[in-house]
């Protein structure tokens, strides 16, 4: 047992000695680096070195948590936390932390990302690729972010496990004109699979096509979604699969288990596997993280659970325990059998959308919402991109969009962007019929 794991274990032992029923301690050493750029120049380079131990404990079904930043403070912190538990209120639905000794996949973190210091060159590579596509007057902005975390988890209920998690991601938005932009992302858990120029090229291509936009028109359209914007929708649906969100009616999936919620071509999974930015081998209870099929050929198969929500729903945990509530890690949509071009050819009069932001709901249970496409917005006629558009909004329903999926591409891209496509996903191009578009009057 290495030193940090020993110290984490000591926290658990000390808590048990104080009389707590169950306790989990998770120590994370995080090393994060970021370059932010705009107008083709680096604005700021950032480094965070963080260390924290998250401690969650239960005493007579009272659940309390704290964060410890210094191992010297352990005794005082634990005593304070137990005192808090003793005056706290019982949660009759608390089902305990996961019990057992599990087998875990081997961590495949890329140590090169731990030692990477100069990120500027990667950002420059992306900026140059965008400029090559969209012209010398292109203005690009974005971020390059790296993460390397060593995570040590010890639970009084059995799990003792260590993981390393690495990630590198680039997000670039290129402007070829004031109102003509494209956005590209490149996400990977390893440096060898990371190609910043790919993101720059895509942002540049879209920015070039997006030149001279005219205001779009209201109406009902068949829409081809790029992987980046579709990643935002995948994030919406996967988040709504969290059992906690179902319980508080923040989901269109309430009372729909076992029911058809999408056509047969739709299979949606949560899978934090090695390639993903969200790679991990265990959840916050120490349960092995795994692939879970949320929607199987159109049928809603499971919600995402921790041990407590699983007991409420009379099922098993899915390995999605977050600190308090279950959460998706990395969403995957199964590939279809069409190409991007074939999907576009299905569209007689419609749109090709590349990115969105500001997704907000009127009613999560019903699913009514709107979101604002940004960057390349294109009018498609008879399978061809005819005109760049601007100033439109998708005003529709989260369940209707799922039901109206009419085509899925073979190609998929690992996407993540800011809070808009979060959690990350493996996202295809997708054709959705009858999407409602509105605009300002």
């Amino acid at each position: 047992m290495n030193d940090i794991l020993s110290k984490t274990d000591e926290i658990v032992k000390k808590a048990k000695a104080l009389g707590v029923d169950e306790v989990i301690a998770k120590t994370t050493f995080g090393r994060y680096r970021q370059v932010r750029f705009s107008d083709n120049q680096v604005d700021i380079t950032v480094a965070w070195n963080d260390y924290v131990t998250d401690v969650a404990l239960a005493w007579k079904k009272r659940v309390v948590a704290t964060q410890i930043w210094n191992f010297k403070d352990v005794d005082a912190n634990l005593k304070k936390l137990l005192d808090l538990a003793k005056v706290s209120k019982e949660n009759p639905m608390f089902g305990g932390f996961a019990k057992g000794n599990f087998r875990y996949a081997k961590s495949k973190a890329d140590k090169k990302l731990r030692d990477l210091e100069n990120l500027t060159d990667y950002a420059v590579e992306a900026i140059n690729a965008a400029e090559k596509e969209a012209g010398s007057k292109t203005e690009s902005g974005g971020i390059l972010f790296t993460k390397f975390e060593d995570v040590y988890l010890v639970s009084s209920e059995g799990p003792v496990v260590v993981d390393s998690r690495s990630a590198i991601e680039l997000s670039i938005r290129a402007f070829s004109q004031r109102e003509a932009s494209g956005h590209g992302v490149e996400c990977s858990s390893t440096l060898k699979d990371f190609g910043p120029a790919r993101a720059g090229k895509k942002a540049g291509e879209i920015a070039r096509l997006a030149k001279n936009p005219r205001a779009g028109d209201e109406g009902v359209y068949d829409v081809v979604f790029d992987p980046l914007i579709f990643g935002s929708l995948l994030a919406v649906w996967a988040s709504m699969a969290s059992a906690f969100r179902v319980m508080v009616q923040l989901s269109v999936f309430v009372d729909r288990l076992g029911k058809e919620v999408a056509p047969e071509i739709v299979t949606l999974k949560d899978n934090p596997s090695a390639y993903s930015l969200a790679n991990r081998v265990f959840d916050d209870e120490g349960v092995p993280a795994r692939e879970n099929v949320i929607i199987d050929h159109g049928v809603l198969k499971t919600y995402l659970h921790n041990t407590s929500t699983a007991k409420i729903f009379k099922t098993e945990t899915t390995g999605n325990a977050g600190l308090v509530v279950p959460t998706p890690w990395n969403v995957e949509m199964n590939p279809g059998d069409m190409t991007k071009d074939e999907l576009l050819k299905e569209v007689k009069q419609g749109l090709y959308l590349t990115n969105t932001w500001y997704t907000r709901f009127q009613n999560y249970a019903k699913g009514d919402f709107s979101t604002i496409p940004r960057d390349g917005i294109f009018l498609v006629e008879n399978g061809e991109i005819k005109q760049s558009l601007k100033d439109i909004r998708i005003s529709d329903n989260a369940l209707s969009l799922l039901i109206n999926i009419a085509g899925v591409s073979k190609e998929r891209q690992h996407v993540h962007w800011w809070g808009e496509a979060e959690p990350p996903s493996l996202s295809p191009y997708v054709l959705i019929r009858n999407v409602h578009i509105t605009k300002s009057r």
């Binding site: 932010r36 705009s38 107008d39 680096v42 604005d43 700021i44 380079t45 950032v46 480094a47 965070w48 070195n49 963080d50 924290v52 969650a56 309390v64 948590a65 704290t66 964060q67 930043w69 936390l81 005056v87 706290s88 209120k89 949660n91 500027t120 203005e139 690009s140 902005g141 971020i143 670039i172 938005r173 004031r178 109102e179 956005h183 906690f244 319980m247 508080v248 009616q249 923040l250 308090v324 932001w357 500001y358 907000r360 709901f361 009127q362 999560y364 249970a365 009514d368 709107s370 604002i372 940004r374 100033d391 909004r393 005003s395 800011w418 809070g419 509105t438 605009k439 300002s440 009057r441």
Partner: protein, 472 residues
């Protein structure tokens, strides 16, 4: 918080060839309560503490932070910030607008100290909200509530002689409810925020407000009618006025958007040099004055000095319908040839300070709410909103009413189910022909920054009347 380590880090940074250096330390005593349908899911109690270094060298910026309080660590992060600043290799060198060093201390008082209120009392107050909702005569099928308490101490020093200590307690609450009637659901959420002590909880009257919302949602389901789309008058209640002020005035007036630094994430602005809108351009009717003011005592967005050590003041953003003054930090101020107006804020020691709003609202007029309504032949009174959004240039926005009523011949009629205004920023503010006397505020958490920095703000204003806008 070990101020000697902060001072050491600054002295060490000043020993290098830097144009500017600052060290900002923050300690936050945190409490979090989270409840589902009146059941306490978790109670989190923690203390977070660390410091950051920001350096300008060769016209580039390096920023590093740590939560390890040692001199060795301080030295290491200064070295790294310095190296990163140099690596930027910028053609256009970054400079900060001039400011004089300030030595001061400021604090916000708590009438009822947060630490004097027991955890049991805090829990029980939130459990009681749920109990009251379950017996209010409305079928509230789910609730979720949370409370956040942060006792924030900061210590800020920079190479120009500033040395500022501060203490600000912040308390926030959030309640989300779902009402079901006749097989249909409607949802509402409310956010509350205050700088000060536990006295805030009593001022908020959360239970009263949530029961009102529950009854409104029931009425929307059982009595609400859709509005026939068309041109009509619209009265916005303070909550709707506030969100519009925040989204289509505060955000587009952030100078880091205007100068392009936020181009990739939060976006740019419809206001830009050489474009149709700039300082001096009309954007609304002459009775529209929107300010952003961090100096409102006990407001959620209160601060006396910003996170670059600049003294806070009221900013007149749209003044009598004219674009008047952008929100600046020292970097954007230098770029646009002016001085900072203290809009630089950071949520914690591990985030750079960026341009942010504080409390953004429309200044009051001289009409009463009744007078606004009396003079409407046909229209909608949108008192609160549910879904909303705006594009990243802050031009095309949409607000969907939650509590809304039809107005006919100067009188309020039946509830209107989810009326929508979807319009542009100049159309919205130009349509305003009357402003009421009373200003009300709502707490919000403004999102910006990468990594995200959700920052406490107020949005607000009086009732405003818009003439002849399209409602659907």
């Amino acid at each position: 918080m070990e101020e000697d380590i902060v001072d050491y880090a600054l002295e060490y940074a000043k020993g290098k060839e830097v144009e500017y250096a600052e060290v900002r330390a923050q300690r936050q005593v945190q409490e979090r309560l989270m409840l589902r349908s009146g059941i306490l899911e978790a109670y989190v109690s923690a203390v977070d503490s660390g410091f950051c270094v920001r350096i300008i060298a060769d016209g580039g910026i390096g920023f590093t932070s740590t939560n390890k309080w040692t001199r060795e660590e301080a030295k290491e992060i200064v070295n790294l910030a310095f190296r990163y600043a140099k690596l930027a290799n910028r053609k256009e060198k970054i400079v900060f607008a001039k400011e004089r060093g300030v030595e001061t201390k400021w604090t916000v008082d708590q009438k009822e100290k947060m630490e004097d209120v027991s955890p049991e009392e805090k829990i029980s107050e939130f459990v009681d909200i749920d109990k009251s909702l379950s017996s209010c005569g409305v079928n509230v099928v789910a609730t979720m509530s949370s409370c956040t308490i942060d006792l924030i101490s900061k210590y800020y020093v920079n190479s120009e002689g500033s040395r500022i200590s501060s203490f600000i307690p912040k308390i926030g609450a959030y309640v989300f409810i779902t009402v079901a009637e006749n097989g249909k659901t409607e949802q509402a959420s409310e956010q509350f925020g205050y700088s000060g002590g536990w006295e805030a909880f009593h001022k908020w009257k959360i239970t009263e407000k949530m029961i009102h919302d529950a009854k409104v949602l029931k009425d929307v389901i059982t009595k609400g009618k859709a509005i026939k789309p068309g041109i009509m008058d619209l009265i916005c209640g303070p909550e709707v006025t506030g969100i519009a002020s925040h989204e289509s005035c505060g955000h587009p007036m952030e100078a880091d958007r205007i100068t392009g630094r936020e181009m990739s994430q939060a976006g740019r602005s419809f206001i830009f040099k050489g474009g149709p809108y700039w300082i001096g351009t009309r954007i609304g009717s002459d009775i529209v004055t929107i300010v952003d003011d961090p100096t409102i005592e006990h407001s959620y967005g209160y601060y006396a000095y910003d996170d670059e050590g600049v003294k806070a003041r009221r900013r007149y953003l749209y003044k009598k319908g004219i674009i008047n003054e952008f929100l600046h930090n020292r970097e954007t101020a230098a770029k646009l040839g002016t001085t900072s107006n203290a809009s630089s804020r950071s949520v914690n020691y591990d985030r750079e300070a960026i341009v942010r709003m504080a409390n953004t609202f429309v200044l009051p007029g001289d009409a009463t709410e009744e007078e606004l309504i009396e003079d409407v032949r046909y229209g909608v009174y949108m008192k609160s909103f549910t879904e909303w959004n705006i594009d990243d240039k802050r031009f095309n926005q949409r607000y969907v009413g939650r509590e809304a009523y039809l107005i006919e011949n100067g009188a309020l009629k039946h509830p209107v189910a989810r009326p929508v205004i979807e319009t542009t920023t100049p159309k919205f503010w130009t349509a305003v022909d009357a402003v009421s006397k009373n200003v009300e505020f709502d707490a919000a958490t403004c999102g910006k920054g990468d990594p995200a920095q959700g920052i406490p703000v107020y949005t607000g204003g009086p009732c405003i009347r818009l003439r002849e806008v399209y409602i659907k």
